[in-house]
Amino acid sequence: MNFMASKQPENSLLGPESDSQRTLYPYVTGTSVVALKYKDGILMAADMGGSYGSTLRYKNVERMKAIGKHSLLGASGEISDFQEILRYLDELILYDNMWDDGNSLGPKEVHNYLTRVMYNRRNKFNPLWNSLVLGGIKNGQKYLGTVSMIGVNFEDNHVATGFGNHLARPILRQEWHENLSFEDGVRLLEKCMRVLLYRDRSAINKLQIAKITEEGMTISQPYSLKTYWEFSAFENPTQGAVGSW
């Protein structure tokens, strides 16, 4: 038990719940998720790494899962919280199916449900330490949205979490367009993932790409991207400026 965390200063305004366990830091984390809308639905990419601080400890973590018939959820951040979210959603979809009445929760509904959950946890100072990407397609309507651990949510044609926000989104802004073919979408995602692989220290070279269309969700087998390290600038990186990296 982390005694430092639960010790309260004398002037603490927290009430009786101040001794309860609340999430303070994440432990096993996943890095960026990148997703975009294409012609037939949504494409999403995430690597399979679970870092334990600076150690790349787990290398077979699936960070994207299908939710119901219409949605796909990708998560970065604390892996155990992602698993907890999957349990919540499992229950949600179960009750939805139990109605057995021809109505079903689509990606928009799931996204909003998640927003409520994340925001309410944030208000209790006990967040689920994740940035989530929720994409799907229902009755021809494509949907792609994101929710963060503090409840910030929005939908867009392309989204990314973590480092992806800084490295992938500029590429997507330049090169995304309406009605991408499947091949072009994958190529664009791989371009983003390659940049992340080069520049994000918690990325590993083992990724999966998931797609969701009206027919359903499919997720690729894990594979690696080709990388090139023979740039001349890499040979003597500090040549121009001693002391730089």
């Binding site: 109605w99 009445d101 021809g102 109505n103 509904e109 909003n112 409520r116």
Partner: protein, 312 residues
Amino acid sequence: MQKCIKNGPLAQLLNAKKAYPVRPEPWKGPPTVSYRKMFRNQYDTDVTTWSPAGRLFQVEYAMEAVKQGSAAIGLRSKTHIVLGCVNKANSELSSHQKKIFKVDDHIGVAIAGLTADGRVLSRYMRNECINYSFTYESPLPVGRLVVQLADKAQVCTQRSWKRPYGVGLLVAGLDESGAHLYYNCPSGNYFEYQAFAIGSRSQAAKTYLERKFENFTDASRDDLVKDALMAIRETLQGETLKSSVCTIAVVGVGEPFHILDQGTVQQMIDAFEIVGEQEGPAAEPDAAAGQEASAEPEQGAAAGEGVAPMDI
């Protein structure tokens, strides 16, 4: 056990068939039998008592309350639902009771029976809809709301400290599979209908609807409203149909639930009063005929203006 005297007062009471007293019987002097025997039967004291025949009399009495309320009707096509009700004010001085409630943009309800119970249930329905909308940013499918309402009504049939709701609800709403009309009754049952009528003299409206319902699925929105007005007219049985005695509400694909204003309703009444029951105008809408006087004797005006006689 008291011996059953042949044809005595006790025997008469025990042998009485379904006698639903509409008004209290005239005072005949102090009762000559015990008070217990004055009630129809000894199994109707509370809702948690079964009769030997397997009936819950309190629930049935609650359904009676619905039959005593003023009429409400509903009918639907593939894309629209129309609700209508008869408004009866207690006196000329008072306003009439609100019997149609908007529950959400895509759901509305018309009630018959204890309107206070109806108001409370409408509030519950509105609450459920708004909570769902807030959580999922999506409208609550009417089929699910109706089940929740029915389950709520069922609770009141299985608690000794409660009584069943004395109101029948015609719930009109849209969901993914199109337009729906449901009837929720105090027993906790619900049924889906193409068209239905509840309340007093609803049988007349039901008869009319039974004749016409096959056309409803593909009917236009305006034809549906017209049919609703016709059905209401049936329940009035001779009284003039004017917009002050009825309320009409519509909900449909692309059309949020709203109550039609009295002017619009009166216009529609005027338009079809001239045309009559047949589809397609038999006579040109006459400006003078807009006045109630000529429309009033529905059977009398038949010969003069080419209007088909009402066949009730």
